[in-house]
Point group: C2
Chain length 495, copies 2
């Protein structure tokens, strides 16, 4: 057995422990009774600690050295070489941040996130701040440690954890570009809003679920390797051999959960398409969160809210909820292409959305870089909300800077993945359309195999073998760009 | 920190890894999609391997030595001393059976158990035998290794894994005792059967579930730390901080799932009552499977099928399924106290049940001792079935020796726990009644707090701190006996 093979075998254990933790993590969101959280948190924290210890194992370090030698002698396949690099990076990561600091951060996050639910409801920024400050300061400390190990700025060190290949210079350039055309596009799109018929009546959860399952089936989700359940915060969890999607239903309105299911199906299909033979190795994982969001947003924004798809969808919706003029294609289109800025990111329309992300990105970057303090966030939030969307959030922390789980959860550097993912989704879809002239017709007829086989070939089946930015270039013929995103928004909302 | 405390801290990791594996194991039975099994099995097998490795860790071995010294100097509390002994036993166990043998057995079991479902359906003993033989031979090998380490016979070494304190001499004595009065009692009870009204109609699963939840609530199950779900084989899984009970529903018949829920609630209450502060340590676990079955059978047989309980139950049943003479107390009593020998153990009535267990015990003991071969099982099964219950199973492997999951799953030595548990349930209930004159009245009025607080005080809250046989003696004033079991059966079925 080569040293590389021994390394892989040793690393398998980490992949398998992650498998167990992913299923248990899903269970926590979907099934766990309310008073079982403390023991569960302890058990899960121990599992993550074991992963860090396994990564720091001395024998593993030796094998990495020796496998590196084999790589230099060209003894590894392309995939093995890529996997080795990913393992090396994970090792470096595990070494960079002391386990004590990691543990302190985990505890601070648990405490802050737990309190956040109630404090947000109560609009209580004052009580939230002292719990949130240690999260920020410990995150900054961990970011600095990572930055030093990898030769990055602290904020880039955070970005890199969610999506390798990104840095804040690039994001600044892209987001500043978006800011030049976004206000005008938003104004024009708002001016064109037509009256929407609200679908009336009560929409039973059983029917909503059946409709969702039908749509998932049509999009190609494999229920022999995945499920759809309910959780408070919709997400796509589990593992690539067993994908666990969730949604939440409201009996007043089926449109949100339905589009939520389509979004999560994009994540789910990506996971299901990852290379089986690399299941427990880093090379078999998705290529980053920007890439992941680009898949969910391709299904939601490029496909799901498009006219051809809504033509396909309308009869299915009517089958479940009866005939109502509000369920005709043209009204569904008005619903799903409505533009109306609001305070809440997760409820935002496609055109307003980037403003929510840019605002958060600008604040979190300054926060991590130390040019603002945690206590400055609300004021900055109010200012930017007024500038970007013309909305006042003064004193409204609940629907302002306390609205997202990300920051109390210690996730800084994630938000850009949403808008970069939306950009990338437009770029994928444009490449897809170039390869398939009749794509709209296929979508309208409910045939999504063209889409899934293209994505599978160019993205899903690659896992993390190619560098994400290479993968984008190889598949679309150009570097990551906002060009197609802008064109898409103009075409959908201004023409 | 004492060495003992360090040992406990180190052992905590094993408890936490077990927590993760228990939740994932429950998920496998309840949620896992059909094609996700292979990856799941690999991940779980790795987890169990990690537990064995943690138990064999050299530092842990040293700590055990040093903690043993502290115990000799009386530096440990009663609970700590008991916990240390349990840890020592676990270590000895981990050392006794080589991990290669364990792994080979796991693989043989997975293969056999997987094939069993279809082969049982097809009544195909011939194809089953070559898959089952390695399970038996590897189990015998592991039993011998354990036997040598612990100075036991091989079969006793298996028994001991499920219930410490048991040996086959004791079981032989008890079961031979039962065999002296059982045929006569069975004949007499059968002769007294009255005509039963079958509840008619279809029983919606939603109503059955609601009824089940109501009964669980009445019995004191804490839904903040547990759930009820559906699985193919009903069981009680999860962990003591998060108890996961399952059942299965048939729309034709609510009576089986309802009594199944009451049975599993007994297991669940035991788990919920275990001492929280010992959660991740062996001292915090249930005191063995005979003890566990004694709790489920106390709730099912002593309480659930009794007249006072059925008086309490009848109005609840009628509330969910409408008024039907078949749902009146007297008819429910006929249903739940029916005696009619059949081929299937899990469907057996209370009087027939011990015959199913004694038959299996006698066969598996001879099998492990080597006095019969695996291929001899069907013939022996037929003979004993005819002798004990007067039924012919010739050629019917499906409803004969292939009916249970235990043997293909490598569980030999478990079956006696059912009948010993039934005996013990009668012994507990008699002690309970002695302490509470008005117990029947309380049950009839739906007050089960007397029962649960007695069990909690004498059994649940003790975890594994007391030796199981001491625990029985301390709580009931006498050693484990079949006396009360016989009296109970005579009182219920002959008077």
């Amino acid at each position: 057995m080569t040293h590389y093979k021994k390394l892989e075998k040793k690393f398998d254990r980490i992949g398998k422990l992650r498998h167990l933790l992913s299923i248990v993590g899903w269970d926590e969101q979907v099934n766990m009774p309310q008073d079982s959280g403390e023991s569960r948190a302890e058990a899960m924290a121990e599992g993550y600690l074991m992963i860090q210890e396994l990564q720091l194992d001395a024998e593993l370090q030796d094998l990495i050295q020796e496998a590196g030698e084999e790589a230099r002698l060209n003894k590894l396949t392309l995939e093995q070489g890529a996997n080795l690099k990913l393992i090396q990076k994970k090792m470096k990561d595990a070494k960079a941040v002391p386990s004590q600091l990691n543990h302190a951060l985990t505890l601070a996050v648990m405490k802050c996130q737990h309190a956040w639910r109630d404090l947000r409801r109560d609009n209580d920024w004052k009580s939230f701040l002292p719990l949130f400050e240690p999260v920020v300061s410990l995150t900054k400390e961990a970011a600095s440690a990572r930055a030093e190990a990898f030769g990055l700025t602290p904020y880039n060190a955070l970005l890199d954890q969610y999506q390798s290949g990104l840095d804040s210079d690039f994001i600044d350039r892209v987001f500043n570009g978006i800011k030049t055309w976004h206000p005008d596009l938003l104004d024009k799109a708002r001016a064109r809003q037509a009256t929407i018929l609200q679908p009336s009546g009560s929409f039973s959860i059983a029917s909503q679920k059946n409709l969702g399952l039908e749509v998932m089936n049509a999009l190609g989700f494999d229920f022999k390797r995945g499920r759809l359940d309910v959780s408070h915060h919709p997400f796509c969890g589990g593992v690539s051999s067993d994908v666990r999607m969730t949604t939440r239903y409201s009996e007043d309105d089926f449109t949100q959960s339905l589009m939520g299911i389509i979004h999560e199906t994009g994540h789910g299909l990506y996971e299901l398409g990852l290379p089986k033979e690399w299941e427990f190795q880093p090379a078999g994982h998705a290529a980053g969160m920007m890439l992941h969001e680009s898949q969910s947003l391709l299904y939601e924004m490029q496909v799901g809210r498009s006219l051809p798809f809504l033509k396909f969808l309308s009869p299915m919706v009517k089958k479940h909820f009866g005939s109502d003029p509000a369920l005709e294609t043209d009204n569904l289109q008005k619903i799903y292409q409505r533009v109306e800025p609001g305070l809440i990111r997760v409820d935002a329309d496609e055109v307003s959305y980037p403003a929510h992300v840019i605002l958060r990105y600008e604040i979190e970057k300054q926060l991590i870089e130390g040019s603002i303090a945690t206590a400055d966030i609300p004021l900055l939030w109010d200012e930017k909300m007024k500038t970007y969307l013309g909305l006042d959030t003064t004193g409204n922390y609940k629907d302002g800077c306390m609205q997202d789980i990300h920051w109390p959860g210690g996730s800084f550097g994630y938000f850009p993945c949403y808008t970069l993912g939306a950009m990338l989704a437009a770029q994928w879809f444009r490449a897809l359309k170039q390869d398939h002239d009749l794509l709209d017709t296929a979508i309208e007829s409910g045939d999504f195999t063209w889409i899934s086989s293209w994505l599978n070939k160019h993205i899903w089946s690659k896992g993390s073998v190619e560098h994400p930015l290479d993968l984008i270039k190889n598949a679309t013929g150009e570097a990551l760009t906002d060009r197609h995103y802008k064109l898409h928004l103009e075409r959908r909302y201004l023409s």
